[in-house]
């Protein structure tokens, strides 16, 4: 816009030369400011016109001027009946009525929000929003809340319709779960508390270079290896914008990696003739959430004693049990007579800080940026934390109009500690914090207490990475340009864990995992754009190469000399082990042909098309696919109709833009590896007759017919803007079909192999996304109000399962059934508690009562105080056949809202997100009740006094009798997989509230500062929910609230940023 500065001055001179001088003139003056940044705007054209006149050609302009370099203006106008018009290119015009002679008018101008001209990068090409046919949402950094986070994705929660972010893991530096447009895979990995859904994170592309988010071989690797999310390595201060691509027409341009959606991150570049040095820092206090309630001290002892007295069988045995258990009988012993809050030992409030220095400058011809960041956050679980050091630089140079080169060099060091747990779960802490309150707090006497072992585990994860890239742009001829990018990235991750002897049978243990990842990436494209009358034609050809190599090894030493001497390596050779893995090389070659057509009309100016048509095709070959089916083809088609440009829309002039879009696309992803296709042969540990034996791995039959997973999406979209973009909304409806989902199918045991990989699973997602934003207040209002709201509804249905079966059960309580939602909870239906023995149904055939399957003992028959579980098959035996589909573990509606208010130099923003209609299993509560299964265990007891449970005196209860511990392990009344513990997990979360204040320039100028901003923010402020557990968001991807999960902290932060 500065380029036009002189140009406008000329116009003004021309205008000024013709105006008439009238009587009763007054001088008015003031400042013109950018409403968003509150900075002065130089070069704004100001003219005075008669109030009644419409601004049409030839209207009488009385006087005119322009603002100076500080945005100040000064103009002579008649005292009444006139108004000033402020215009500036790229900004919406502003009218101000002159009421009196003032010298301090503050005029705010607002950037003309012509959505159609926004630049969006799709398929490595920059396009104007109007030329894009697919569903893409771009969020600028300035629209992100100003609160410190470790991972910038946290700030996107609830901002993009269809991008479901759940901060289900509070481990510092770890990623939450990001899912674009619902489920893409229904396979559950792991089991029990460690079960999770196969990861389908989107592809992240940072400054045009795709990065491997789940780089440690795969998501499973996160359980074992180092676990810093690569996104956590980018400081939020360095981010310029984030774009989310949702439909397959857009993501197919990224090939198989884009199958689960694509998120583009652009970092900041230098853009100021005067070099800018800015420093920002923030301090924050992280507090743990509400913790579990437990019974303490004498109450705990009394509960245990009573439980034994009432249910051991007879008084003699009961007294024996109590007397032989010192914790219960020796109440005067100081060791057993305590009131310890164990959760307090493990959970803590921490003070964290981040610092960031940004040095940047330059113009279009030459620009540079150096960003140095440091962030330290200690986890709210003791012995965990994450520290990041990062250095990010870029340089751009454009010696002439035709040639441009930019280079990026980024390095970072991440250190984190997961303590005794891993990236997914804090098992050690979960059990440690669950210790009986009767035991003494940590002291000299408890030095060898196993519960404290979790704190002495020494876990160090180091993640060193650097990447460098260079990209060139060369305009060969008009409309024909060539672009090439080369990048190299390398990262080393090490994880060293020391476990003290007390946790490992008095044998201290060291494990060390090392992984190396490096990748070379090259992309070249040629694009050509031309016009033929009002028909626009574009063609882009791309060629992409990528070669990645992963290798890793691990070493385990057991039986070190002591907890203090952690060596020498090889001390006890016999019990130590190690192995190396160097199998994960990955190479791919791909091409892309991406033509585009636009049809405008003679009435429209060039570049304003009515119809846009964008077909594309991307063939790709990958080393994963093996030799038989190397090439996969990702096609896409898109069509957009800018109906607001049609002549019949002229009369609806409040509609500033309107587009209808329809796209179809298919991404193809080979999820099978070469071993699934050809079988895996390995050298067996055992020899035969002294010779080595090379058997085939029997886990999965080789299946050469494995086709890659295809993801086909139809997307129908509509975008509209009203009143020059004051209000806008967009809507997308999609139909996403995922076929050939890879699933291991178990086989009959006479086939030697235990399973075969099958591709006959299909899944359909249907959804609707709605996103709107408004800036309702008039421009001249001093108060600026920005508000946006979005939601997405997603419904998934399994349409086919292997071998034509109707349902599959995974990990016991999760079922995939054809025709219903993919991950249903498969539970025992609880209908309360048997009040009396007579209430238990009796099998008329045998005369025996309803009982637990798998046991014939008399304890197996239900009696008063036991839960009523529906006997679905009516055989009077409770077993797995009595489970029913009740509930869906996946959220069906997600969304959020964002609101900013700015008044002068103060601004307040609030963001919230919500997840509705989701069923959660409160396993934490189930586990707490289950502590009563064994009154002699040293775990804490849940304060069940608060719950409505069965006792002989109180027979109509919600919860079964917890005290009948002799039968508890058989009946398992508090099993988590029953409807008693299934709850509605809907929530509305106040993500964050932030307040910032810009100190007036005149106070800081003398200190040599150009800007000083103070900020205060609260992150994770509050969750509104009916869920009885701690946090309905803090549950695993299968909707299980497991006690070992890492809780999300609430952070209060105070920060400031300074610009020199």
């Amino acid at each position: 816009m500065k380029k036009h500065y002189t140009y406008y001055l000329l116009i003004i001179l021309f205008v000024v030369s013709g105006f008439n001088v009238l009587a009763q003139n007054v001088m008015v003056g003031g400042t013109v400011l950018d409403k968003d940044t509150n900075t002065p705007l130089p070069g704004v054209t100001i003219v005075a016109i008669r109030d009644t006149q419409k601004v049409v050609k030839g209207s009488v302009i009385l006087s005119g001027t322009a603002t100076d370099a500080n945005g100040k203006f000064w103009i002579k106008v008649p005292s009444t009946g006139y108004k000033l018009r402020f215009t500036f290119i790229g900004y919406q015009p502003v009218w101000e009525k002159i009421t009196k002679a003032k010298a301090d008018y503050h005029i705010y101008m607002i950037v003309e929000d012509n959505v159609m001209d926004d630049i969006i990068t799709i398929g490595y090409q920059q396009k104007k929003k109007q030329d894009v046919t697919s569903s893409a949402i771009k969020i600028e950094a300035k629209d992100l809340p100003d609160v410190p986070v470790q991972n910038v994705m946290e700030l996107l929660q609830g901002r993009v319709a269809g991008l479901n972010i759940q901060q289900n893991n509070g481990t510092p530096g770890m990623a939450g779960s990001y899912v674009i447009r619902g489920l893409s895979d229904i396979n559950v990995k792991g089991s029990g508390d460690q079960a999770y859904l196969t990861d389908t994170s989107p592809l992240f592309v940072v400054d045009g270079i795709p990065i491997d988010n789940t780089s440690n071989f795969d998501y499973e690797g996160l359980v074992a290896g180092s676990n810093v999310s690569p996104l956590a390595m980018i400081p939020q201060e360095d981010i310029a914008s984030i774009t989310v691509l949702k439909d397959a027409q857009a993501t197919a341009q990224y090939g198989s990696q884009g199958a689960y959606g694509v998120i583009l991150i652009t970092t900041k570049r230098g853009n100021s003739m005067v070099p800018i040095i800015s420093y920002s820092s923030s301090m924050s206090i992280s507090t743990p959430p509400r913790l579990k309630d437990v019974v303490v001290g004498a109450t705990e002892r009394r509960l245990r004693v009573n439980e034994i007295l009432n249910y051991e069988g007879n008084d003699y045995d009961a007294q024996n049990v109590i007397n032989s258990f010192a914790l219960l009988s020796d109440s005067l012993n100081a060791y057993y007579n305590n009131n310890t809050d164990w959760q307090d030992v493990f959970y803590r409030t921490t003070y964290n800080q981040t610092h960031n220095i940004n040095f940047s400058g330059g113009d279009n011809d030459f620009n540079y940026k150096v960003n140095v960041g440091y962030s330290d956050s200690k986890g709210i679980v003791d012995n965990t934390g994450f520290t990041r050091y990062s250095l990010r630089t870029n340089l751009g140079y454009q010696p002439n109009e035709k040639f441009r080169i930019s280079a990026y060099v980024n390095t970072s060091i991440g250190k984190n500690s997961t303590g005794s747990g891993n990236a997914l779960i804090q098992t050690g802490v979960a059990s440690g914090a669950n210790t009986s309150s009767l035991l003494p707090p940590p002291s000299l006497y408890t030095a060898s207490n196993a519960t404290l072992g979790a704190l002495s585990v020494d876990n160090k994860n180091k993640d060193l990475s650097y990447d460098a890239s260079i990209s060139l742009n060369y305009q060969i001829a008009k409309g024909l340009s060539f672009n090439s990018a080369i990048s190299y990235s390398h990262s080393t991750k090490t994880e060293d864990t020391f476990e003290p002897g007390m946790l490992n049978n008095e044998k201290p243990k060291i494990t060390s995992n090392n992984t190396f990842h490096h990748k070379i990436y090259n992309r070249n494209n040629i694009s050509y754009n031309t016009h033929l009358g009002y028909v626009r034609f574009g063609l882009s050809l791309m060629f992409e190469l990528s070669s990645a190599e992963n290798s890793g090894n691990n070493l385990e030493l057991v039986g070190l000399p002591s907890d203090v001497i952690r060596g020498p390596v090889g001390y006890t050779f016999g019990s130590s082990s190690g192995d190396a893995k160097s199998t994960d090389d990955n190479k791919s070659i791909s091409f892309m042909v991406n033509p585009s057509f636009g049809i405008g009309s003679p009435k429209l100016s060039l570049g304003e098309d009515k119809y846009v048509f964008t077909p594309m095709i991307r063939p790709e070959a990958s080393s994963v696919s093996g030799s038989s089916k190397k090439w996969t083809i990702n096609p896409g088609l898109g069509f957009a109709w800018h109906f607001s440009r049609e002549s019949f829309m002229k009369r609806y002039n409040f509609i500033s833009s309107g587009t209808m879009r329809i796209t179809w696309g298919r991404t193809i992803r080979q999820n099978a590896d070469i071993y699934d296709i050809y079988g895996k042969y390995y050298i067996a540990d055992e020899t035969y007759n002294g010779q080595s034996v090379i058997p085939i791995n029997l886990e999965s039959t080789p299946n050469p017919d494995l086709k890659p997973t295809t993801n086909t999406t139809w997307n129908f979209g509509m975008d509209m803007g009203f009143l020059r973009g004051k209000y806008s909304f967009s809507m997308d409806a999609y139909y996403k079909q995922t076929d050939n989902i890879l699933k291991t199918v178990d086989m009959a045991n006479h086939n030697a192999f235990t399973g075969v990989k099958s591709i006959s699973t299909s899944l359909v997602n249907k959804g609707l996304e709605f996103q709107c934003s408004a800036r309702p207040l008039p421009v001249r209002s001093k108060l600026d109000w920005n508000i946006s709201f979005n939601f997405a509804i997603d419904k998934n249905i399994v349409t086919a399962l292997p071998n034509g079966v109707k349902q599959y059960t995974q990990d016991g309580s999760i079922v995939n059934r054809v025709g219903t939602n993919a991950l249903s909870n498969f539970l025992f239906v609880n209908k309360g508690v048997y009040a009396n023995d007579e209430d238990v149904p009796v099998d008329p055939a045998t005369g025996l009562r309803y009982r637990i399957g798998g046991s014939n003992s008399k304890d197996a028959y239900f009696k008063a105080g036991d839960p009523i579980w529906v006997d679905v098959n009516g055989d009077y035996i409770l077993d797995d056949n009595d489970r029913e589909i009740v509930g869906n573990s996946q959220p069906r509606i997600t969304g959020g809202a964002y609101n900013t208010l700015r008044y002068g130099s103060v601004s307040v923003s609030v963001s919230l997100s919500f997840t509705l209609r989701r069923d959660i299993i409160n396993k934490t509560l189930a586990d707490q009740f289950a502590t009563y299964y064994d009154p002699k265990s040293l775990t804490s007891l849940a304060p069940i006094g608060a719950y409505d449970f069965w006792t002989p005196e109180h027979r109509n209860a919600k919860y079964p009798n917890p005290f009948d511990y002799k039968r508890s392990n058989l009946v398992d009344p508090f099993r988590a997989d029953q409807t008693l513990f299934q709850e509605d997990g809907s929530y509305v979360k106040l993500n964050n509230v932030s307040l910032s204040y810009n100190v007036n320039k005149k106070y800081i100028e003398k200190f040599g500062l150009s800007q000083l901003t103070f900020r205060f923010g609260i992150n994770n402020l509050h969750v509104f929910t009916n869920y009885s557990g701690i946090n309905p968001e803090n549950v695993n991807s299968l909707g299980r609230d497991v006690s070992g999960g890492y809780p999300n902290s609430r952070d209060y932060s105070f920060g400031m940023s300074i610009k020199f």
């Binding site: 190469l545 990958s622 895996k680 007759n689 058997p695 085939i696 080789p702 009959a748 045991n749 030697a752």
Partner: protein, 503 residues
């Protein structure tokens, strides 16, 4: 700038032309099927996996030979009357339901699981399939024929073991089978196996692919030989003669023909009784097929899988009794003290001791070849497990000849065994000779996993004159002679049914 453009484009074109080689990824620690099956070493390593899996199926995952072959329905008792050895009685009385209910030891439970044998079958099928798809020239034709013959042998040996255990079993010969199969009638299974083995012999008239023996002594009887194949075929024929009664003469004739071939051409011989230790260590001229145990290379059998670990005390401690003894009735019946038989001394200790005696304890020392490793782990037999040996073949030949009323041949053959034992020659004929041959099998093959199966295939199991713990005929017809099949077999297989007598 143009130059730069060319610099970028040119290597791209080069890379494009080498697309396939760019995408080929080598893995160091594990091999995928498309890089395996290239060299002879690959085939050799894979072929050994069949043998190794067979060892797992028989000598590691369960106590197959002693539990299913030697002690079931046998006149055995446990020395300890403590209750923890009740299994001996359950096994001897064919009370497998109680046995499996009360003992979760894998040595019993493992016998009900057939998947380990199917691993051998699967590997054999894969070898037969993949070896034909290998690049020409990697192996000579003779090598290919040899490996294929070994695969056929291992597959049919496994099916033979499966049939003896469970009766009808799923039968498949394609590589990488994925289909869930029902059980195939056992006669059909064995007839298929027989045809399969016959084609191996027919394709190899000069015994080049599958030689009579190996020059490399380490391979003798450890890898399939022509003698192993013939022994297996004789066994299959005799089993069929028992269960496909209408065609029994054909099967006996087959046994006679095979017996004539192996005795005339095989070059195998009976070793002197004084070389008992050599016979049962393995690799001798008498051995036809055996499973390798190599204590020094960590290839050792499970303690419980070794027969003689039950019949001699641990660490050969004379003060301690072995787990199991044969009743005096039985031992005195088969080795009457009045008649001379070298085996009574060579293979037994205190054979004539009474059951109650605590001074003289009965041991079966036939396989004694003890070893105690550095950690103090003891085994009474560090040698290989003999599956087939020449004496067995001679006795099968004799049995078939006698069944076809060729008493002269039958008698001559059985007397070879008698002579080696230093026992008096048989002179009987007709039914007496048949009985003599049967009892000679009991004597000669004691502890080698044949006792129960000989009773079953000859139907002597429901005849109290032969069987000490008989199974009733009606129970036999309902399948009481089989083992229960583990319920795992029903998983993912709607076509599967278990043995009705047991399950």
């Amino acid at each position: 700038m143009r130059n730069f453009f060319i610099i970028i484009i040119f290597p791209l074109l080069t890379i494009l032309s080498g697309c396939d080689s760019f995408l080929a990824v080598d893995n160091i620690d594990e091999m995928s099927g498309n890089v395996f099956w290239k060299t002879k070493d690959d085939v050799e390593g894979f072929a050994l996996s069949m043998y190794s899996e067979f060892r797992d199926a028989t000598m590691t995952d369960c106590a197959l030979f002693p539990v299913s072959g030697d002690f079931r329905c046998a006149p055995v008792k446990d020395y300890y009357d403590s209750g923890s050895y009740n299994w001996v009685a359950y096994l001897a009385n064919n009370d497998l339901s109680t046995l499996l209910d009360q003992y979760s030891d894998s040595k019993f439970q493992g016998v009900t699981k057939w998947n380990t044998f199917y691993e051998v079958i699967s590997s054999a099928n894969i070898l037969l399939y993949e070896i034909d798809r290998m690049d020409a020239g990697a192996l000579t034709d003779n090598e290919i024929a040899g490996y294929k013959a070994e695969a056929h042998f291992m597959r049919n040996l496994s099916y033979f073991f499966l049939v003896r255990l469970y009766g009808d079993v799923p039968y498949w010969t394609n590589a990488y089978n994925e289909d869930a199969l029902p059980r195939t009638d056992m006669v059909t299974v064995l007839q298929n196996c027989l045809a399969d083995m016959q084609s191996v012999l027919d394709d190899d008239p000069n015994a080049e692919a599958l030689p009579w023996t190996y020059a490399n002594t380490a391979k003798v009887a450890v890898r399939a030989m022509r003698g192993s194949a013939i022994a297996l075929m004789m066994h299959i024929n005799l089993w069929l003669a028992g269960f496909d009664v209408n065609n029994r003469d054909t099967y006996y004739q087959n046994v006679v023909n095979l017996g004539a071939d192996i005795t005339a051409n095989g070059g195998y011989q009976l070793l002197d009784l004084s070389k008992t230790n050599m016979i049962f260590s393995g690799g001798s001229k008498e051995s036809l097929f055996e499973i390798v145990q190599d204590i020094n290379k960590d290839e050792d059998f499970e303690y419980n899988s070794v027969y003689s670990n039950y019949t001699v005390p641990e660490n050969l401690n004379e003060k301690v009794q072995p787990t199991i003894y044969y009743t005096s009735d039985f031992l005195r019946a088969i080795f009457p003290s009045s008649k001379i038989d070298g085996r009574t001394d060579a293979w037994f200790k205190n054979i004539y001791a009474s059951d109650e005696s605590s001074d003289e304890i009965k041991w079966v020392t036939k396989f004694l070849n003890e070893h105690t490793d550095a950690d103090g782990n003891f085994t009474s037999n560090m040698g290989n497990q003999i599956v087939f040996r020449y004496a067995d073949v001679i006795l099968m030949y004799a049995e078939a000849a006698a069944e076809l009323d060729d008493d002269v041949t039958g008698r001559d053959l059985v007397n070879q065994i008698r002579n080696r034992a230093g026992a008096e020659e048989f002179t009987a004929s007709g039914q007496d000779l048949k009985d003599d041959i049967y009892w000679e099998r009991v004597r000669e093959l004691i502890g080698e996993g044949y006792y129960y199966y000989d009773l079953v295939r000859t139907r002597k199991i429901y005849n109290g004159n032969y069987a000490y713990n008989a199974i009733s005929r009606s129970a036999f017809d309902q399948g009481a002679w089989t083992w229960p099949i583990n319920k795992d077999a029903l998983d993912n297989n709607p076509k599967m049914s278990l043995n009705q007598y047991w399950n």
